[in-house]
């Protein structure tokens, strides 16, 4: 028991490393705040392309894009962009490689979520909207998309949580986010406590969101009763 506290919950070490970890936490939040809107917007555009386009080519291109990035592990994608591209000459700023890799990966998940939401909206809604003279764009904006988003709110939140978890991958290319800070300090103090502290910080950030997610899901399945 003592050794557990000594090695995992060492308060003295916690006090020492907390400032470093908080810096890392800040970077984690920063990364998430950049990637989520970009991924969501890209995903929405892709979903619109897939569901609204009359052209088979557009639809299949979107599906191919989405399936490709769903099959590609994000860590591999990041390594590819970060280490591979410099071989072509020129510097790849770390942040750019990270953001691009994350957005490419995340946009495909957002696309799937939005697509499901849009397809769940009853066909009659578009007809009713068009029958009053609204054009396609207006019908999407005022009638279809509000309902689509409401349909998949839990999944959207779930995806945002995934992005925060995804940021740990950036630690592999030395991005100073929370996990990187934990590992760096761990090797300095020869004690796994910093990693446990980092885990606790992730829990503080994400556990409440997971609870909110659970209650949103419960509300949704409640509505699906009819």
């Amino acid at each position: 028991m003592d050794s557990i506290i000594e090695n995992f919950f060492n308060l003295e070490i916690y006090r020492q490393v907390l400032p470093y970890l908080l810096n890392g936490l800040w970077m984690t939040i920063w990364l998430s705040v950049i990637v989520i809107p970009l991924g969501a917007v890209a995903g929405l555009l892709l979903a619109l392309g897939q569901t609204q386009s009359g052209s088979r080519w557009v639809r299949w291109t979107v599906i191919a894009f989405v399936d490709f990035f769903r099959a590609f592990p994000p860590l591999v994608l990041l390594i590819f962009l970060y280490f591979g591209l410099p071989f072509l000459g020129g510097d790849v700023p770390k942040l750019a490689a990270v953001v691009v890799a994350f957005v490419l990966n995340n946009a495909s998940y957002f696309c799937e979520v939005f697509r499901a939401g849009i397809q769940a909206v009853h066909k009659g809604q578009m007809e009713a909207a068009r029958s009053t003279g609204l054009n396609r764009m207006q019908a999407l904006r005022y009638v279809i998309l509000p309902q689509a988003v409401r349909n998949v709110m839990p999944d959207l939140l779930g995806n945002c949580i995934e992005v925060v978890k995804l940021t740990t991958i950036a630690s592999v290319v030395g991005m100073p986010e929370l996990l990187r800070a934990a590992r760096d300090t761990q090797s300095l103090v020869y004690n796994p406590s910093p990693i446990v502290l980092a885990a606790l910080l992730y829990l503080v950030m994400l556990w409440p969101l997971t609870r909110v997610l659970a209650s949103l899901e419960k509300r949704r399945t409640g509505m699906a009763g009819h």
Binding site: H122, G124, Q125, E127, A128, A129, R130, S131, T132, G133, L134, N135, Q138, Y142, V143, P146, Q147, R150
Partner: protein, 252 residues
């Protein structure tokens, strides 16, 4: 004989190899209430939905107030402001209140400002007897009330013609009357109405003209008296047979 406000000329519609409309000819005069009856699969709804091009005809024309709206260069969104549609399943926007359902097109299509749009919307809702429910959401309204909001949504745009696609088929029997009453009131106000319906009694009592469709064409048409009491075609007779038998069996 006033010029027709809505005219269907040689209207055809096929889905792949399946021919649903085989050359429909129909003329609707201003302020006329035309009821379209017929067996399922006769193409009634498809024909109706061609009138505002929610279905695209495979051949033929739809002429609205002298304008051929099946031409590719038609501004269909503009045309749809002149053709109101009421759906079998209401299709109210669940995330908007009754008032907002009605004002949406007024504000975004007709570009009215908020105050103007709301005034018109409240007026339309009052006309269908739901002025006091303006802030209710569809989920809080009964089926009959939802359909009346659907009617208000369409009439708020001041259309020239109203299309009704089986407006009462999805309603519980006790809620049908309130919708039919609104439709009668509209007719008295001089609205031109094309109604696809199963409500034979309504067609018999209120329509100016009854059109019987079968197999993708207009099989017979005439005044309600002509079609219901003196049908010429055998198939018309067999279709309305059951209604007329029930009618004569029960007190009128």
């Amino acid at each position: 004989m006033s010029a027709p406000i809505l005219e269907l000329v040689g209207l055809k519609k096929s889905y792949g190899s399946q021919e649903v409309l085989r050359g429909v000819e129909l003329r609707v005069r201003p302020a006329e209430l035309v009821c379209v009856i017929g067996p399922s699969g006769s193409g009634k709804s498809t024909m109706l939905r061609c009138c505002n091009r929610l279905e695209e005809p495979s051949a033929g024309q739809v002429v609205l107030d002298g304008q051929d709206i099946t031409r590719p260069d038609t501004d269909i969104n503009r045309v749809r402001q002149s053709v109101g549609m009421v759906f079998q399943h209401f299709n109210l926007y669940p995330h908007l209140s009754a008032l907002e359902n009605v004002t949406l097109a007024l504000r975004r299509v007709q570009k009215k400002d908020r105050a103007q749009a709301e005034a018109i919307a409240r007026d339309a809702l009052t006309q269908v007897g739901l002025g006091h429910k303006a802030d209710a959401f569809p989920a809080q309204l009964s089926g009959g009330q939802q359909q009346r909001v659907g009617i208000a949504r369409a009439i708020a745009l001041k259309p020239k013609v109203m299309l009704f696609d089986e407006p009462t088929s999805a309603l519980d029997p006790e809620l049908v009357d309130e919708v039919l009453r609104v439709m009668r009131a509209l007719r008295e106000g001089g609205m031109t109405m094309l109604v696809v319906t199963h409500e034979m009694a309504f067609a018999h009592a209120v329509a100016d003209r009854v059109v019987f469709m079968d197999g993708g064409v207009v099989a017979e048409q005439g005044t309600p008296a002509e079609v219901f009491e003196n049908p010429r075609e055998a198939r018309t007779r067999s279709f309305i047979g059951r209604y007329m038998d029930a009618k004569s069996a029960s007190p009128a």
